[in-house]
Symmetry: C5
Subunit: 354 residues, 5 copies
């Protein structure tokens, strides 16, 4: 949890708009990649320096600048100056504890979104913040770590298979968001499979660990919901309002992603309901089992404790215990014993304990 439901490092007294990186520090270099394209051209290049990258941009094309790594504050501040981005926006990019949000300005749209990965080994969701700034001919994307899920998209851009190169930055932004939302379904499928397994165990032979598993997935779903739920609002805002930067035709596509987001939220809520139901069922089944155990103990005890008392009596060393002298005393003892056992067994059978 500490790493995932992160809160901002306390920045009390720091001037707003001050650029401070809040997040996991990595040692990798910041990697800057520029893809310039239109229907005719496609250029892909990597830079270590933001200035060079900016000067390499092609004004006749759409320029997608992707920055991997946020720990070099100057990169963000240079880009911010170049495109006249509000300092608070830059602060938001650097602060990786944002919830998904949208900020709309006259000449750009700023979107924060969470890229999620499912770590199958520890069965935990890992999160990376992606910030996207949509401008007229530029699109800036900022990621925390190197390596992402946009490679297929880059290939589609390069090999001209799709009509994506004839469209604007809004469509590219849509493609980025769509890719991320699509990846959510992957996570959900993984969690769904795990929940199925838990359910099978619950139905057959619920062990102790099931409890921790239920708790764990409940928490993963809370985390997932927190990452996806605000995105619904973000996309809803993008779809409902009218902005110059967003083409009418792209709105149709954005509505599609919006629908997917709702679907994801729906499934998350369903899974949470199911997990809650499981916990209730588990608790009841444990109570049930305790009841069963108690019955066995009680049956044995109530049969044998009185009989042991009986044996105790005739084990006493009183000088005068007349029964001990009877010839058939021992036989009568056994008759009484067996009679008692039968009476008790009958009693328990009538109580449906047996």
């Amino acid at each position: 949890m500490p790493k995932r439901i992160k809160s901002r490092k306390s920045k009390i007294g720091v001037a707003p708009g001050s650029l401070i990186h809040v997040g996991e520090h990595v040692n990798d270099d910041v990697k800057i990649q520029l893809i310039s394209y239109n229907e005719d051209i496609f250029n892909k290049a990597s830079y270590e320096n933001i200035e060079k990258c900016l000067s390499a941009c092609n004004n006749d094309a759409i320029n997608w600048i992707n920055v991997d790594g946020l720990h070099e504050v100057e990169v963000i501040s240079s880009a911010g100056k170049r495109f006249n981005i509000h300092p608070l926006i830059l602060e938001d990019i650097l602060n990786t504890t944002q919830r998904p949000k949208i900020d709309i300005d006259n000449n750009y749209i700023f979107i924060v979104i969470k890229m999620l990965y499912y770590n199958k080994d520890i069965k935990e969701i890992e999160s990376e913040q992606v910030s996207i700034i949509i401008l007229k001919n530029y699109i800036l994307s900022f990621q925390e770590f190197q390596g992402d899920i946009f490679d297929d998209l880059r290939r589609r851009l390069e090999y001209n298979k799709s009509n994506i190169r004839s469209k604007g930055t809004d469509y590219l932004a849509y493609s980025l968001i769509d890719t991320i939302v699509d990846s959510y379904f992957d996570i959900i499928e993984n969690i769904g499979d795990s929940i199925d397994e838990i359910e099978d165990i619950l139905m057959s032979n619920p062990s102790n660990e099931i409890l921790n598993d239920i708790y764990k997935f409940k928490r993963e779903l809370i985390f997932l919901r927190n990452s996806v739920w605000p995105l619904r609002e973000v996309l809803g805002k993008l779809v409902k309002s009218e902005y110059e930067l967003i083409d009418d035709k792209t709105v149709m596509y954005l509505r599609d992603v919006y629908d997917h987001t709702i679907q994801v939220v729906d499934i998350i809520e369903t899974y949470r309901d199911i997990l809650s139901g499981m916990l209730d069922t588990y608790l009841s089944s444990i109570s049930n089992k305790t009841n069963e155990v108690m019955k066995i103990l009680t049956i044995f005890s109530t049969i044998f404790i009185p009989l042991s008392f009986l044996t105790g009596i005739y084990g006493m060393n009183f000088d005068y215990i007349p029964e001990l002298k009877f010839k058939y005393g021992y036989l009568v003892f056994w008759i009484i014993t067996i009679f008692c056992i039968l009476v008790m067994l009958n009693y328990f059978r009538r109580k449906k304990w047996l």
Copy 2:
């Protein structure tokens, strides 16, 4: 669950609008049926090829094209081209993991709805996605599997009993939706009967299996609600807004289906409330039973354990135990014993344990 709360197969990096069938694959051929009708004519024919079907359409009549089976992507793409359907819509038809939705375009209305069947053998709800596209003179319906519940509707169309043939595609679409929603009541009735049975068992002799049954129906109801709840929105949108394709007179009918949908949702919520109440009651009744079992054990133990101790004392082999020599020792022992038993019984009676 895995088959029912399906999530989209992960399609990361695939271009939006790419037609890929997401769902259960079947080996049957795709079956295409065309029904052309107006007040005078009625033609019904089956085709294996979408092109032939499309060329057989009668422009003076209303043409209902029903496609059973989604695994031949070309069928959907041909129909899409012919009627100028947006690629994202076609993608939605092929992806059978949609939640019920509506998309309204200038010249068509697209509706996704879930056809549900109750499998009495395994007491589970099974689901099939139906997509309906309403155009001016055409209505396209896409189903996952062959065989449906529209046969009565077809008969009504053919034998002219009803006034349905004098009406437009909007009324036919209404009839399709109405048939599906009516079938929901059937499922609800079946579940209601099962819940009644569970309740009877709960009240008389709650066994262990009741727990799994409650859990199971809780899950079925979650699944059912997820299929019906979004339909409410879909129909609400259809009823409230004004579209050229929907006649004012049909709106009255659609409002009727809308009411039915709300009724279904209502009953589902009621059943969920009842099941939750059952689980609480069951848990309390188990605790209660454990308490009863404990009381029996405690009564027997507290009476006989001290007495056994007493017998133990006089079973000891100390050389000098004066009581053993007393003439009435054994008699006194019994008097003490019976006195103890009476005191304990009285104690338990005052505690209302007996």
Copy 3:
């Protein structure tokens, strides 16, 4: 439950507007009563035939046609034709599984409402559907069974005590609804009394049956809420909008019924909260009791089991047990025993178990 949370008999494939009676079938004849009144006249007559009744109507007066029994479909269909009622409305009248609803047409308002009776013997609420159609000079009311709670209203109409005869159909409709809503308070009072009784038992000596009682009333309240909650919407619609058929002065009265409905819903929710609180309290109190029982068992066992072991030792028949030969062996045994008992009692007293 099966009789009360009824769902529509499955009518898949039946044309919408087909008149089929869905509900409990009764053998009584359908009883049709006509009351014609204005400030001067008052006529009350019963008919077995709807045509005769319709022809007996007085166009200068207000005509209240009350139909008891829905199993003769022709009655409803004749009335429907005469007053030009939409087939779907007629279908709704016949289907007694409706939730309270309102449908507003140009020349009539259609209201479905639930008349509820509290059966004190089985402590269950019984329900009867009442449909009311308000027209300019006519009011039609349809009930499932004979006998109702409108007799006082009829008497007020007849003996001219109130000013009701000088008012229109809207005021009569209000009077009908008001009478029904007033009867809800009666039911609530009965349930409230029962809940009081349960509470007294809960506080003093919670027995096993209390659980079933709590569950039962929880279910009755769910049923009651389902009958009353939608009525709130119905009346809200009637109050807020402006219809020609509803006089401005009557709106004031309708708002009063609306307030009462809210009050009923409020009390229902309060009772549900209280019952939930009771169940929680009961569960905790059972756990508490089990804990008490366990303590008693544990006190007795932990005191006497070790002592029994001690007696067992000196009851052994080893040839050489030196303690047995000691003169004061038996005395020492008792001293140890009493010491052990005192230590244990002290231990339990410090643990606050005694």
Copy 4:
């Protein structure tokens, strides 16, 4: 409860607007008090007769008529006729089971509000209905019982300390409501203190009675919320809309009471959350204790039951038990016994039971 969550006595069939007193009957006389004041004059007088009181009113001043006791229906009906109040309003005044409500007419505003008292002896909230009618120069207030919390307000009016005498009926009405809402804080403080006590007990030594206390305060809070929550709506309506009778300057004051009401509701919800948390904690702590008790029982039993079996063996009277003849038999027995005890203790220590 029966006295507090009162429902209307069933009045089925009674004409709406019929004046019937619904509430606790008291034997006191109805007390009518008239306070006439403006900046210059202040007259206070009591009457037994409403007519005399009405004729004593001063048209140049603001007249506050306060009626204590509702069982004399004529008083209310006379006042109603004099000020032209709608019969339904009069019915509402007499029916003391109202929830707080507001009714706005052309020439008056009618407000129902609950005056609450905390009875420290039985730790229960008692309720009295206050109805206020605001007219141009008149303010009518109706209370169920004699004695109220308005004495300070009367003193402020009389001794001219405040500027209240220069203001209209709206400000007086505000003062009445403000006084009542202020008194809610008193109740909340009392309940808060009790909850603190319960919490202390819960944390230190939760006894059985805590359960009933939690349940009791939960119920008191439900009752309190039901009395205060609708008041929020009432005041919200008064603040948001524009009425001739309410001066713009008074709205500022009303908004202040509105804020206080929200604050009360907030605290109530907080207390309910806390009580729920307590119940959960209590239930868990009981389970915990049972677990502790069980552990003690199990430790003693598992140590001594096998050992008792061992003593039993060597207490048997078989002719040939070789061990009994061994010289060191008894010594070996003790060694085995102590070894067993140590093994078991170690086992429990490793299980962290000790």
Copy 5:
């Protein structure tokens, strides 16, 4: 709790607008600090007397008057008269039990906000009410106690590092609120760390104290939410509406704080969900443990109680017990004993208890 979920001291009958300090009384002197600044000048001075402070204000600069301590009512009333503040506002400043609120007047904006501190020793949140009044050239802030978190802000003002001195009172107010909201993240981080610790204990070895910890943090979160939730509304109002006193450019900054507030509320709700999940898990794990304990007890008891009975039989002193005379009686006894033990062990192994 009593100190934190404070309710207003009962002020029934006190005229509205009466200035009475409601809160913790402190003995410190009231400290008044004036900071006058614009782009050129910066003056900081402390006063013991409000009149002197007011006369020292610089009309060409922005004057920030900060009052520490509310127990000298005259200070507030003098300031109120000077700036023409409504008496109800002054009352609100003095009453430290307010929830965060906003009041907007023609010439000033009044904001109540809670400054929170996390006391790590007792792991409790402590609260201090801060009231801010924004005027054209003046900003008044009132705090309960001396010492605050605004020192960094004062330093930024003084050393001209930031552009804050070129902006108006709205930006200073924003800076104050921003500082407070930033400090919330600090508290949340502390609580988050504690929750992590609880979780670790829960997963490994849940002890009894964990229950009190969960309860305690649940309560702290309720308290925190109550302090932050209304702030959301306050800022929402400030952001959405248009006021002369708030510059358009500052709105962007306020929206940023608004986002942070939502983020805080989000995390609080997440933590509450997690704590609830923990409690459920804990309860289940306790039930589980009790079940385990019961199993051990039952295994030992059901094996040895019947065997003890057997030894009891052959410990009896009947004159005639034939088995005792058998040569291999003792051997047979052991064979039977071991057989019984093996049967029981096998039984428990099949039941998966071992």
